[in-house]
């Protein structure tokens, strides 16, 4: 395994206009430009504000429960018989996934900006739950947009959001999944742009979202880097994270980008297999284009229409990806691979049985790839896998696949 040496100053990206190479930018209708300007200015000011940072750190420690452990999965590593596998336990965060790091950060921005209402899109429901959670805590009203199809397959999270006082809006347009929920959230934002804060759930969307989501999620990689040094005395040889929109992956990767010896693998949803076209792997089998405010790799047809996607995990079922990943792919700093539905389900069961840790189906994609990768490496080497969320929300889906009704 060799790492590309390209002397890039990763901290200098995105550019002032929000570009990562040719990707990113700000492709939105004119009405939203002022809101994005306002958000960008607030973020650039507040990220240097000690009071804001202290409040964010305090919330991460006492509300989210950080730092999350870096757990050496010894039994699993032994069974695989290759590299030592460490799990970054984002599943132990309050609300059960990495998503909350970002929602705590954005809700704090909303509070400092004086916004009274937040809106969010959600696929698996994890980001919706994390948004409803922080809104409840700050006493803000919260509306979550969710595709009709996802509402059906993530019923538990829908109810959680309602218990938290959020209104869940069923989106019936287009493919009725995450991308359409995002379209609808943008439409509502355009209408109520003065008093509403849009909490985007992944490192995508128009500038400054990919940058600010990355910065809020980078706590994952900063902690993991230090924890690795503390427990193994060296940096890891490889990082593995699943990629939906790319927020847990960029959160883990970013603090390591300058460390040339550290390989990075982003795992996309292979669905029924790349050859079938029924997957959600734009970096592996898509082409650059423009959707949801940024230029990035997309699943699309020859006419530029966005394709329907498929993944067993709702959180990866998205035809685009954060622009920084598109750039990291093109310059060769990170590799992007796929794991199909079946492999992910196998990994879900495997980790549950060998370590007593039930991963989210999204994270199961990273688990499955880590196992393949570890087998090709030696026992002195280490891999850090981002266990982005816990599998409770997916028990219903897995039971359904097993033919067991648990209603």
């Amino acid at each position: 395994m060799s790492s590309s040496k390209n002397n890039v100053d990763y901290a200098a990206f995105p550019s002032k206009e929000g570009h990562f190479g040719r990707y990113g930018g700000r492709f939105v209708s004119e009405t939203l430009i002022f809101a994005l300007d306002e958000l960008e200015q607030a973020f650039l000011r507040l990220r240097k504000d000690p009071a804001f940072q202290a409040e964010f750190d305090r919330d991460l420690a006492h509300y989210v429960g950080r730092p999350s452990p870096l757990y050496h999965a010894e039994r699993w590593s032994r069974e695989v018989g290759g590299a030592q596998i460490y799990l970054k336990r984002e599943d132990l965060n309050h609300t059960g996934a990495h998503k909350v790091n970002n929602t705590v950060g954005q809700a704090l921005l909303a509070k400092y900006m004086g916004k009274k209402r937040v809106i969010a899109e959600t696929g698996a429901g994890q980001h919706g739950v994390a948004s409803a959670t922080v809104a409840a805590r700050l006493g803000m009203s919260c509306q979550v947009f969710m595709g009709e199809e996802d509402i059906q397959r993530q019923a538990l999270n829908v109810y959680r959001m309602k218990l938290l006082g959020a209104e869940v809006v069923s989106v019936k347009s287009g493919s009725r999944t995450l991308k359409d929920a995002m379209n609808e959230a943008m439409r509502v934002w355009v209408t109520d742009v003065d008093d509403t804060f849009y909490i985007i759930g992944t490192a995508a969307g128009p500038h400054p979202y990919p940058m600010l989501v990355r910065d809020f999620q980078s706590v994952i990689g900063r902690e993991a880097r230090q924890q690795c040094l503390d427990s193994t005395g060296k940096l890891p040889d490889a990082l593995v994270a699943c990629v939906g929109g790319g927020s847990n992956a960029i959160g883990l990767f970013h603090p390591f980008l300058q460390d040339e010896g550290v390989e990075m693998y982003g795992v996309e949803a292979g669905g029924h297999g790349l050859a079938t076209g029924q997957h959600a792997a734009p970096l592996s089998d898509g082409r650059p284009g423009v959707l949801h405010g940024n230029r990035t790799y997309l699943m699309q047809d020859d006419n530029g229409q966005i394709s329907h996607t498929h993944s067993v995990s709702a959180g990866l079922d998205y035809p685009g990806v954060g622009p920084e990943h598109s750039w990291l792919k093109d310059i060769g700093r990170a590799q992007y691979v796929t794991i199909d539905d079946e492999e992910a389900l196998t990994a879900f069961r495997k980790l549950t049985l060998t370590e007593g840790i039930m991963p989210a189906l999204e994270s199961s994609h990273a688990v499955a790839y880590a196992e393949k990768l570890a087998a090709t490496m030696s026992p002195e080497q280490t891999i850090v896998v981002n266990l982005s969320g816990r599998g409770d929300k997916d028990i219903h889906t897995v039971a359904g696949i097993d033919g067991i009704g648990i209603d």
Partner: protein, 273 residues
């Protein structure tokens, strides 16, 4: 002079306002789009904004979203829209056609190919909803080289500084979005549009059309005196929502186009100022 500039010059001389209907190419049925365009002109349209169907029309309200879905169900995309313009041009060399859509289909075709083919088909301008001037330098240059106008939006949220910046890049006309919201929204406020137009006029001598929220003769007549043209989208497109594919097309087209006739009369009858 471009078709758009000469149209606005003529209208100004006559003291008239441009009436700009918006339809989506291929909605309700690609076989009738060109016929519909001719009928709109006969009913009093000065410019036609032809929507390029897109799977994710982020700035549209429910009525126009459904129109995009109907068009896509008939496999109408950018290529077909360009063919329709070419066919329209065989009988009408005068009425300007502006394509209105989203970045991705244009980017997928390639900016250079798009500019050449659009110009060859007889298109006059492009309005890309999700491509603000900051991202438009490359396509604008290619369009300019073949004489196509690049039309930009100005919103109620556009600062004066931004109005100046957008105006400097725009050609053809400026499209003033009358409200914060998606197409078809119902909360048009004439006084705030008046203030917004005053600000735009301070920075640009380009003609300004106003769109979003114009649904009938009365709303069009209220706005027309303040600007150079009015755009009618959702109210027209909504007339295709219950299209009967089994029934005769002609009366259904006539019923839709009647709205444009009504608005034409209201606009022409409105006092000038």
């Amino acid at each position: 002079m471009s078709r758009l500039s000469s149209l606005f010059t003529t209208l100004a001389e006559q003291g008239r306002k441009a009436l700009v209907p918006y339809i989506v190419a291929g909605d309700p049925d690609p076989r009738y789009t060109v016929t519909l365009m001719h009928e709109l002109v006969a009913a009093g349209a000065d410019i036609i904004e032809l929507g390029i169907p897109f799977s994710d029309p982020m700035a549209e309200g429910p009525v126009i979203q459904l129109a995009h879905e109907r068009a896509l169900a008939h496999n109408t995309s950018l290529n077909q829209a360009l063919d329709m313009v070419a066919e329209f041009r065989r009988e009408d060399s005068k009425t300007p056609i502006v394509l209105m859509g989203y970045t991705n289909p244009v980017e997928r075709m390639g900016y250079e190919t798009f500019a050449r083919q659009a110009s060859d088909s007889g298109v006059d301008g492009l309005l890309t909803v999700d491509m603000p001037p900051e991202e438009a330098a490359e396509i604008s240059a290619l369009m300019k080289a073949v004489g196509l106008d690049n039309i930009f939006l100005l919103a109620p949220t556009s600062s004066e500084q931004r109005i100046a910046k957008v105006s400097a890049l725009a050609t053809g006309y400026l499209y003033c979005v009358s409200l914060k919201g998606v197409t078809g929204a119902g909360h048009l406020d004439v006084d705030s549009v008046r203030a917004q137009l005053a600000l735009i006029k301070k920075h640009s001598t380009l003609p300004v059309t106003v769109g979003f929220g114009i649904k009938d003769g009365a709303s069009a007549a209220a706005l027309a005196p303040l600007c150079e043209g009015v755009v009618v989208g959702s109210a027209l497109v909504d007339r295709f929502a219950n299209w009967d594919h089994e029934a005769d097309a002609a009366p259904q087209i006539a019923q839709a186009v009647a709205l444009i006739k009504e608005i034409r009369e209201a606009v022409d009858g409105a006092p000038t100022n």
